[in-house]
């Protein structure tokens, strides 16, 4: 694994200074599906580039843990095809970040393979840059030993054992590796894990546009239409210059108003004013949002403070066992009237059987019963309420191997089917959803890193390769 690549070693040609740049961001996630007209309209409006994010941690640790995309392959291919065909015809670049949901090397390869198929089917030729962001455990352990790992709130200091548990570790790249790839002539950039903002920021910063507007514009459009009156609308275009940026919705029915644009800074951010990027901190506290007309909004006053020490945020997902679940419905009013007592009894009986029938100790497994319709979502935070009409009782068990997890779920089966209330003189039967009642969920994972790595240059951890893609004969 090398840290520096040909493009960096030879030094990409600096891009000319531009007064402004227009970028189409069609949707919040590649594969979500957007109207073809979104991209066509953006190009008619003078788009200089198309950018889209392909990933997120928001759907949980499984995708990074397993290195598998959340998005169906066909949906990702459809969206990439729409962008790539239009962009090649217009002669503008496409940047996709966080390929394959989690941005692992397998995600980059997956999307690069899709791009090759599109080239075959559409007779396209283009220069592809792939930028890998997956880190070997040894790299992170080396940085840890060298004192270059910082804990991010609310995490504590990192220990080596946690790193060694990770199935996959990725670093979130900033703008620089992407800007370098574009400067080296890439028509399509497929990047591994990146900050949500990295693609749009790279497209602007490489032309010398001021970093405050560049990063703030990038943060504003990173979820596509989320910054407009219609979050399910047809994407946005952003025009960025040294003084600010303008958000233009790409469908007729939605509007980017000062309120919708400003409010997006709250979305999925712990701090609505200050955002850390590898190169520094975006500060939007002095930003002014002004309506240019009913549908477009101009933002000025955004600032960017360069960091003395560049850092790359890490994400890591660790194997956490195997799960098996069962779902049973309870509709009997008598049980529902005493549901907490019944659930406590159920939990106790399942744990008793785990030991009595399978010889399992409490440390050998995790088991949880959730009553959907009662308090499954909020748990102890549930403020209470009336007796539900019915509940779905979801049993989740986790153990070190699938066989044990499933054995435990099967041991639970007769109890889920028949457990009476204390003092009941008959044996009730409940409503299993399926046969067999058990669903094997396979390996499950958990997020274990909330840390950043100090680097000399924000490019250091990322590996870029170029390929001339052409239709295979």
């Amino acid at each position: 694994m090398t840290d520096s690549l040909t493009a960096e070693a030879t030094g990409p040609a600096p891009s000319p200074k531009r007064d402004s740049i227009r970028i189409v961001f069609p949707i919040g996630m590649l594969g979500g599906g957007f109207p073809e007209e979104t991209v066509a309209r953006g190009i008619r409006l003078g788009a200089d580039a198309i950018a889209v994010d392909g990933g997120s941690t928001d759907s949980g640790p499984s995708y990074l843990g397993a290195g598998v995309a959340k998005t169906p392959r066909g949906a990702a291919k459809r969206d990439l095809r729409v962008m790539l065909v239009a962009a090649r015809a217009a002669g503008i670049p496409v940047v996709v970040t966080s390929a394959g949901t989690s941005g692992t090397d397998s995600g980059v390869d997956w999307l690069a393979g899709i791009a090759q198929e599109i080239a075959d089917e559409e007779s396209l030729t283009f220069r592809l840059a792939t930028i890998r962001s997956e880190l070997a455990q040894e790299q992170v352990l080396g940085a840890l030993a060298a004192g270059r790992i910082r804990a991010l709130e609310p995490a504590g200091p990192l220990d080596a054992a946690t790193v060694e548990r990770c199935s996959h570790i990725v670093g979130l790249m900033g703008h620089a590796p992407i800007a370098d790839a574009l400067d080296a002539g890439a028509d399509l950039v497929i990047a591994g894990r990146a900050s949500d903002t990295a693609s749009v920021a790279a497209l602007a910063l490489r032309h010398g546009i001021a970093p405050g507007p560049a990063w703030h514009a990038a943060k504003t459009v990173e979820c596509g239409s989320q910054c407009t009156t219609d979050p399910l609308g047809g994407g946005v275009m952003v025009e960025i210059d040294d003084d600010g940026f303008t958000v233009v919705p790409l469908d007729d029915t939605s509007a980017a108003t000062p309120m919708t644009v400003a409010a997006h800074m709250l979305y999925e951010n712990a701090d609505p004013y200050r955002m850390r990027e590898p190169a520094g901190i975006l500060d939007t506290s002095a930003a002014v949002y002004t309506a240019l007309d009913e549908r477009t909004t101009r933002v000025e006053g955004s600032r960017f403070e360069a960091a003395e020490q560049p850092t790359i945020k890490l994400e890591g997902s660790a194997f956490a066992g195997y799960e098996t679940m069962s779902l049973v419905g309870v509709r009997d009013p008598e049980i529902l009237a005493h549901l907490d007592a019944w659930l406590a009894r159920l939990d106790g009986e399942l744990r008793r059987r785990a030991h009595a029938f399978l010889g399992l100790e409490p440390a050998d497994y995790d088991l949880e019963v959730r009553a959907y319709g009662h308090n499954a979502v909020l748990g102890d935070l549930e403020p209470g309420g009336s007796v539900p009409r019915e509940v779905g009782v979801l049993l989740r068990v986790r153990a070190a191997d699938q066989a044990t997890a499933t054995a435990l779920a099967k041991t639970a089966n007769p109890v889920l089917l028949h457990l009476p209330l204390a003092g009941m003189t008959h044996l009730p039967s409940f409503a299993f959803a399926t046969s067999p009642a058990e669903f094997e969920r396979g390996a499950v994972y958990e997020f274990v890193l909330q840390h950043a790595i100090e680097v000399a240059d924000e490019r250091d951890l990322f590996r870029t390769e170029f390929q001339e893609v052409a239709p295979r004969g």
Partner: protein
């Protein structure tokens, strides 16, 4: 709104006063709660209520008050509350992968 306060409004919840109360992950280790109010008066009232009191939020979400961050955004008539996720996203005990339903305890606060 303040001018037309009726006696019954003294027991109104945040859900009844706000345009929107929402919750979401801010990464796997943070939960963030956003409140959007309809008027400057409603914003001022809620900004001065228990909604922005870290001790109240700590009790409601069973989390230490020290980690809670409260942002009052008058220009947006919005309030943001961020706290370390009581349970890490996607861990075995997590009940809400995207934290999308975690606004409900906050929305039940009586804001007067």
């Amino acid at each position: 709104m303040a001018e037309t306060v009726a006696p019954s409004s003294s027991s109104r919840t945040l859900a009844e006063v706000a345009d929107l109360v929402r919750a979401k992950n801010a990464g796997p280790f943070w939960l963030t709660l956003d409140v959007f109010l309809p008027t400057d008066e409603a914003f001022e009232r809620v900004a001065a209520s228990a909604v922005t009191d870290p001790a109240t939020i700590a009790a409601l979400y069973r989390t230490p008050a020290e980690g809670i961050r409260v942002f009052r955004m008058p220009a947006l008539k919005a309030i943001k509350i961020s706290l370390p996720r009581p349970v890490v996203q996607g861990s075995f005990a997590d009940r809400d992968m995207h934290s999308g339903q975690q606004h409900v305890p906050l929305a039940g606060i009586v804001v007067g």
